[in-house]
Amino acid sequence: MPFVEIIYETGNKSVAYYETDEEMQSALSEHHRRAINGEPGTSQSALRNDLNPGETRIGSWVAERIKDVLIYDQHPADYGEDQLMDVADVKKVFNDTIKESEMQGVVHVQTVAAAIRDMSNSMVPEPKAHESQFKMEETAKADLSFLKAVE
């Protein structure tokens, strides 16, 4: 089960690590239950003695309903972490960017560099609210029927 991407109904997303399905179901059921009931998703917080009184405070936010959960074999941020890309893919981006940005025989080198550099970005630029924010393909979608028990 290792890593999951949790997509909340609000469009927020997070990555979590669970050892087992049961562990994932426990966490998501409790959070979803709180959302259904309008309860906070906040942890227990304690004011800090090492900060000035004006700097320490306990914030709170509401829990969010779970919309979708995608399962990954590794952390989806690992995509491109080694900065190694297939040669053919780099050549394609290079050529496509030059073709798109060429102006009377010259091209802005930073535009080409940025396009190649972005190849190792692990995130997609414009994810829709209920779609994955990562380039890495998930291995499966979690069956969320267990959430019905708390709705």
Binding site: S14, A27, L51, E55, S122
Partner: protein, 187 residues
């Protein structure tokens, strides 16, 4: 110059706390080195990561006796080591990702703004808010006192870039989430 008074790091954790700025913040050596070597010198070996990751740490930023400019990630709580929550037992904890981009639709950095104040001003940018969890129980270690901009997904590993104190000590349990919105101000 990256560190005080040149660089100031602030954060806000929730929309309810959006006017608060914290003093206990720190830029680590690697952040300075990115400016001297990568920005100034176009280094090919000292480079930013493909993506940033945001971590939660039990270590307080402090004022010199906790985190230090040359701190490193470590499971050993000693000296200036920075210790990550959930590194023994995750229970839902994982690092969150911030893209190395500006104002796209993904979680990344906002359009930067400029403060011309002589001693405390500078250019600042705030990332989109990230969510941790939901936790499935108490991570070990538990009790977040700071957030840390780092890289990679392996806990207690990677480079440290900058960190800020959380407004309270967060102790996580089943169903909990955490929200962090980091801001960088560099002058």
């Amino acid at each position: 110059m990256l560190n005080e008074p040149g660089m100031h790091l602030h954060h806000k954790e929730t929309p309810l706390e959006h006017n608060r700025e914290l003093n206990a913040v720190l830029a680590f050596q690697r952040m300075s080195q990115l400016v001297t070597d990568y920005v100034m010198g176009a280094s090919g070996s000292i480079t930013p990561p493909a993506s940033w990751t945001l971590a939660l740490s039990t270590t307080v930023v402090g004022t010199g006796s906790n985190m230090a400019r040359n701190s490193v990630w470590s499971a050993t709580v000693s000296g200036s080591n920075v210790n990550e929550i959930g590194s023994t037992t995750a229970n839902g904890y994982a690092r969150q990702t911030i893209a190395k981009s500006i104002n796209t639709g993904s979680i990344d950095w906002g359009t930067s703004t400029f403060d011309s104040t002589f001693s405390t001003g500078g250019q600042s940018t705030t990332a989109d808010q990230v969510t941790f969890g939901a936790f499935s129980g108490a991570p070990s270690p538990n009790g977040a006192n700071s957030w840390v901009l780092t890289d990679g997904s392996t806990l207690n590993a990677g480079q440290l870039y900058f960190a800020g104190d959380t407004a309270a000590t967060r102790t996580f349990a089943n169903g909990d989430t955490e929200k962090v919105t980091p801001t960088l101000k560099a002058g």
